[in-house]
Structure formats: structure tokens, C-alpha cells
């Protein structure tokens, strides 16, 4: 299960911690890792305060050797690949601890890390992720949760629109021969604005296929026009199952309930404020 955000400080780690807490309450041992660096007290780029990742006994974690907390000690199980912060190690939490988590930088290495965490433990794997790096999960049965909030818009309407746009891209349907047109256009790389304009110059009954949803870099109205004009699909789909909202941003504080309801309406997905305990 991977949590991605529509913007920095959209509430990813808060959502991640909420999932971990639910698992703990239910007695389910989880495994955790991160795409990028998370769990540090403040954001490395903009110094915004960030929640640290709390890990309960029995939790499996993949993190760089340099981020392994010195106390309480973790049980080191084995080593993985390299990351920007050093060799990734797999460890098990023995006593409750809080730590930073970072994972490998590449999609392939992240896939290998997730697979190894699955092999080492029986429970779900939670990944604090990034929206442009979810490709390793495409084509599998992993669930994606989209975190959004005031960090991605100054009004409820803007946040909801940003969430809807992200969900529209991430929920690109997979291949379905029964529903596809005879003409299938394969795009090897990214579907960018230039590709979109070329396609829209000659609208027709055709299926346009990209490798996975992260290859679609057009958004907003252009993406909507493209989806209206073509049957847009991907080889390996993602499974986006829910959204979470954070009403607090650096420049705005939004009404929590209104935000949850607006995002649920805009995305058509179950939406939660895991701090205010609101669902829609």
C-alpha cells in the first residue's frame, strides 16, 4: 500500500502513520519503507515541520544504514541495495521507536525492496511514496492512497480539482481488448503536451496506450480533452483506492469537513481526514 501526495506537505506521512496505527490496533505487523526521505522532524527542502514515523514492535522496516536509530536498537536482518543515503538495510523493530525512513531511489530497486519486505514478513507493506515514482507498483495488486490538502491549493475547490486531476491520471484503465478500438497507438515514453496536441489534431476512434499512468504528464483540461477524444489506456494500471485530506497548509487553513466532501465528490473515491476523523 503506497501513500502519495498531490504536493509536498499534503499529509502523506500523517496518512502513513494513521495506517500504521490502525494496523497496530488490529495487531497486524506491517512493513514500512519510503520512496524518498520521510520521517525527519522537518522537511529537508522547505523546513516545514513534519511528523516522524512511529514504529511499533514487530514492524519490519527498510531504511538506509545511516538512518537506523541507535536507540532503542533494531534487529538488523539483512542488507539491500544502495540509496542516496547509503546501503538500505532491512530491520525489525524490537521496542517502540521513531525514526526517519528513506528508501531506494529507483523504481526497480523500490520494487525489489517491497518484494523483499513481503518475503520477510506476513503483513502488508506500507510505502511512504511519491506520485511520480509509483510506477514500480503498476500492474500489481498494490493499493495507492492519494494524500491531498491545503498544500496543493488555497481553496477547497482548488484542492479538490488538483486531487481530481491526479486521480484522473493515476486511474488510467488497463488494457481491455474487448473494449478497445481496432487502431491502437502505442506511446513508448511519456505522453506529453506535444503528443496530446498531435493526437487531438486528428481525433478518431483509436485506443492510445502508455506503459503506466505515471507516463501521462499532461493534465487538466488537455488531459480531459484527450480522454474525451480517445480511449486512453495503459499496459500496467494502478489501483487507487482512497484519498486523504489535510486542511492545513503554509498559506491556507481550510474547513476540514468541506474539504473531505469536496475531494470525495471530485474524485469519486472514499476520502478521509485521518486527524479529524471525518470520512466521505
Amino acid at each position: 500500500m503506497i501513500v502519495v501526495g498531490t504536493a509536498k506537505n499534503a499529509g502523506k506521512t500523517t496518512t502513513f502513520n494513521a495506517l500504521r496505527a490502525v494496523a497496530q490496533r488490529r495487531g497486524v505487523a506491517v512493513a514500512v519503507t519510503s520512496i524518498g526521505r520521510d520521517g525527519e522532524p522537518s522537511d529537508a527542502l522547505d523546513a516545514e515541520p513534519k511528523p516522524r514515523v512511529r514504529l511499533a514492535p514487530g514492524t519490519l522496516v527498510a531504511l538506509p544504514a545511516g538512518l537506523v536509530p541507535r536507540s532503542p536498537a533494531l534487529a538488523i536482518l539483512e542488507r539491500g541495495g544502495e540509496s542516496a543515503l547509503g546501503t538500505v538495510v532491512f530491520a525489525r523493530v524490537v521496542l517502540p521507536t521513531r525514526c526517519e525512513i528513506a528508501g531506494p531511489p529507483t523504481a526497480r530497486a523500490m520494487r525489489a525492496t517491497i518484494d523483499r519486505l513481503r518475503a520477510l514478513g506476513a503483513g502488508p507493506v506500507l510505502v511512504d511514496g511519491a506520485i511520480d515514482r509509483v510506477a514500480p507498483l503498476a500492474g500489481g495488486d498494490d493499493a495507492v492512497i492519494l494524500a491531498t490538502g491545503a498544500a496543493s491549493g488555497a481553496t477547497v475547490a482548488r484542492v479538490a480539482a488538483a486531487a481530481a486531476d491526479a486521480v484522473a491520471r493515476l486511474t488510467l484503465p488497463g488494457r481491455d481488448p474487448a473494449r478497445e478500438f481496432d487502431e491502437v497507438v502505442h506511446l513508448g515514453g511519456a505522453l506529453d503536451a506535444r503528443d496530446a496536441e498531435e493526437l487531438l489534431a486528428n481525433p478518431r476512434d483509436a485506443t492510445v496506450v502508455v506503459d503506466d499512468p505515471t507516463r501521462v504528464v499532461v493534465r487538466g483540461a488537455l488531459l480531459a480533452r484527450l480522454r474525451a477524444a480517445f480511449d486512453l489506456r495503459c499496459e500496467r494500471a494502478l489501483r487507487v483506492v482512497a484519498c486523504t485530506t489535510s486542511p492545513v497548509g503554509r498559506d491556507a487553513s481550510l474547513a476540514p469537513r468541506a474539504l473531505v466532501e469536496a475531494v470525495a465528490r471530485a474524485t469519486g473515491l472514499p476520502t478521509f481526514d485521518v486527524v479529524a476523523d471525518i470520512a466521505a
Partner: protein, 522 residues
Amino acid sequence: MNADATSAARIGLDWLRTAVAPVGAFGRRHDDARAPYGPGDEARAHDEIAGVVALAAQLDRDGVPRARAALRAVPEPTPIVARARVGDPLSDVDFYELGRFVDAVAAVARAWDAAGGDTARRPPALDALRTLLAPGREGAGFYLADAFAPGLRAARETLAAEETAFETRREAIAARVRDAIGIDPAGDEFVVLRDVYDGPLPDDVLVVRETPTYRAAALRVVAPARDAALARLADEEEAARRALAEQVAREADAVAAATDVLGALDRTLARVAFAQRWGGCVPSFGGTQLAFTEATFAPLADALAARGRRYTPVTLALDGVAVLTGPNMGGKSAALATAGFVCACAALGVPPPARAAALPLLGAVTWIGGEGPEDCARLLSSYAAEVVRARETLAAATPRALVLVDEFARTTGPREGRALLVAFVEALRARGAFALVATHFDGVARAAGVAHLQIAGLREHALNALDANDLDAALDAINAAMDYRVVAAHDGEAPSDALALARLLGLGDDVVARARALHDAR
């Protein structure tokens, strides 16, 4: 043995270095610390090569790659141990890596035994280090277990109890808050929506931030005992790590000795694998000859094998300087390269892939002929490049140098070119260097007063019977018809078989016929 980039490439020295490169960090370090054998190192070179040849016969052929794979998997403990020696703190990941090292060394020892290796070269067991780390090792992992220090268990039990007490206290406060405002204060932070509750918050609630629609809050749970337990555990764990690191430091010599053994074994097994692949002999050193019987220029043999072709081993005896003539495509360049390659093997402690060899240990090998990368960088023409290399070679030539000359002066006028070559060969002879000089010029050996060797060449009448439809078939046919042996030459015109080969390689019959007429008329 010095060889510039061009020479190293031509004699297969680069290929050889790659072929016998160690697979692990210790082996690479061991190799880097050993200079190639040169003049004066004959006894050491002999001992190493003899050892490799003996091991190649003794060790199981499947076991050697397994032992090398085990060597490749050994992690590097040296920086960790060095930090321990100077008193730097070690981490649990460091102890885990040391445990991996101990296990990996044991795996190498098992693989070595399975390959049929002797006890003298067997990596040490590192029992003391293994015992040190044992309390923390479950399987391949590591945990700073209670057994490492007397205070650890108590500190952990205290912390666990304080965590439970903290949760109990927090839950009690949460229940009071729930009763007071009707909101469940779950998680580190919780939100109090103003449209749900806008009254005063209990004293146990700390407001983190406020907006017109909600207040974000956290429970004020003071837990000095838990904080103290955390601090005590941190102290106990650090003390345990310090004590363990001090004990690791005392094993530094054993670890260094083990890495030395691994490094030497890695170097040796690389050579054994080479010898098992290519065969090899123990050369005799110290004579005045550079001679070998049925030697294989392995880089070429490897390339030919990849194309399904067979390499013909070369036999050669060189007393000082010799001129080598023979037909095009007869293997003159390969013979030169083989001489250099065999000497390179000896310099690196590798059994030369030959049935027998009597070799000098050389100070330098130089290849002259054609342009190398250095010549291109100097913006020299082919002729200028050759002359400059010849000048530099003569300036440095000694009796412990091998000079391989491949059709020197072929890009200039033949009369002046031949004269220049004769003079160059005389100069090499005067300096006492070993030299093998391939050329199509006639009468060079006799004019310079040196031995004349030749490639035996196309077997009699064989070429007339050959016909081929494409290049591959032509090369196969030439390969079958060519006698690649190096033999003593008769005086007279150096054979080239150039016209017959041109016909076989597809140059038009009319062109070849015209060329033959012109040649015969001369």
C-alpha cells in the same frame, strides 16, 4: 613490465589483466600491491607459476568458480575494524556487516575445501570474532542482545514497563477529554472541529494551531519516567556497543590476516581458472632465449572460438633479433602478439598457455607498427608515428626489452622503407634487445645479419583448389589451407601469396589476372 597503451593492447596485456582480475576487493588490493615480475624476479615468478599450475591440476574445475563466487561475496570489514581501533563508535549495522564477513569467510573456506584445496591456503575460521558476535546473531542478522551487557535487559524491561504506563496514562487522559468534549483524541494530533465543539478545552489538551473552523490539538501527557527510561536504555546500548567495539578492535590483526589470505587466494584462483581454461606451463627462466612451444594467443583464440574458428598454436625460438616473413594472412602479427603475450603472462605470474616455454622476465615490451591511440592523440601520420616510436624504442632498448615490429615503413616508398628497416634491425641487434620483425621486404634478415623465420604459408597446391562464394567461406578456406607454423626461412624473396589471396577474397578475376601478368613480366 612496461608497455604503453598501444603495445599493451596489441599483445593482449589488457585482455590478460581482465582475464586474471581478482573478483573481490581484497584480491584487487593484493594485486595492486604487487608489481609485475621483472628482471631479477625469476625465482618468485617461477614459484608462483609453478604453484598455479599445480593447483590447476589439483583443484576441481567446477569447484574453482564456486570458490571465486564465494570470494566475490565477502564484504569489506576493514573500515569498520579501523574505526573500532581508533575508538570510533560502531553501529549495529557495522556489527551485522562483521557477522556477514565471518560467515562469508567460512563460506569461502567451505568452497575451497570442496574444490580440493589444501589447508595451507584455507582462510582462517575467525572463531574469536564469531564468538564475540554470537549473542547478537540469529541467522544472518544482528541484534544488540541483552547478553552483550549486564544492564541491557533491565533497561529494556524498564522502558517496556514505562511505555505501557505511558499508554495507560494517555488513555486515561483521553477518556477524560472524550467525556469533556465528546471527541476521541486519537493519534499524536487530533482536530476539534468548531462546529462539533467550540468550548474551552480541558487542561490536558495542548492547542497546536487554530483556524476559524477547527483547532488542532495534542494531549499533554507528561512522562518523565519514560523519558528517563529511554535515556537510560540509550546509555546502556551505547556502552554495550563501545565494549563490543573494543573487543572487535582486539581482533583487528586476525581480520587483517584473513583479508590477506583472501586476497592471495583470490589472485591465485584467478590464475588457476585461467590455467584450467587455457592450459599452461611453468617456463624456465634465466636462459638467453625467448622460446615457446605451441603457445596460444588467448585473446585471438577466444575471438576465433566465438566465431566457430580454430586457433593454431605458435612455436617460436628467438635468440636476440629475428625477421619474420610469410604470406598475408599467415599469422605474422599473431606470432608477434603471441611472443608478447607469453612474456606478459610470465610477468603477471600466469602460466603461459603453451606446452613449454623458456623466457626472460622483461623490463619492457614495445609494439611498433600501425597507429595507436597515443599516436592519434599526437596527430601523427602512420609513418611519423612509426618513426617516433622507433626512435623512442631505440633510446630505451636494453637486453631485457622485447620489441615487436609489424611491417615497419610499409607506408613509405619500398626502397627507402626497406633500407630504413634494415638499419633499424641492426640498431636493435646492437642493443642486445629481443626483437621479432615482421615484414614483406625482401632480404632484410640477411642484410641486417639476423635470423630469418617465416610462416610456412599456404600448403602446396592448396590455394588453387580453393574457391569460395562469400567472405566467411573464403576465410574458412584460407584457414584450412594455411600452414601457420613458424619455420626457418630460406633466403630469397619473401612469399606473400597476395594475388592468390586477393582472388579468393573476391577481387575480380580480370584484375587479379592483370596483376599477375604485371608481376610475372617484372
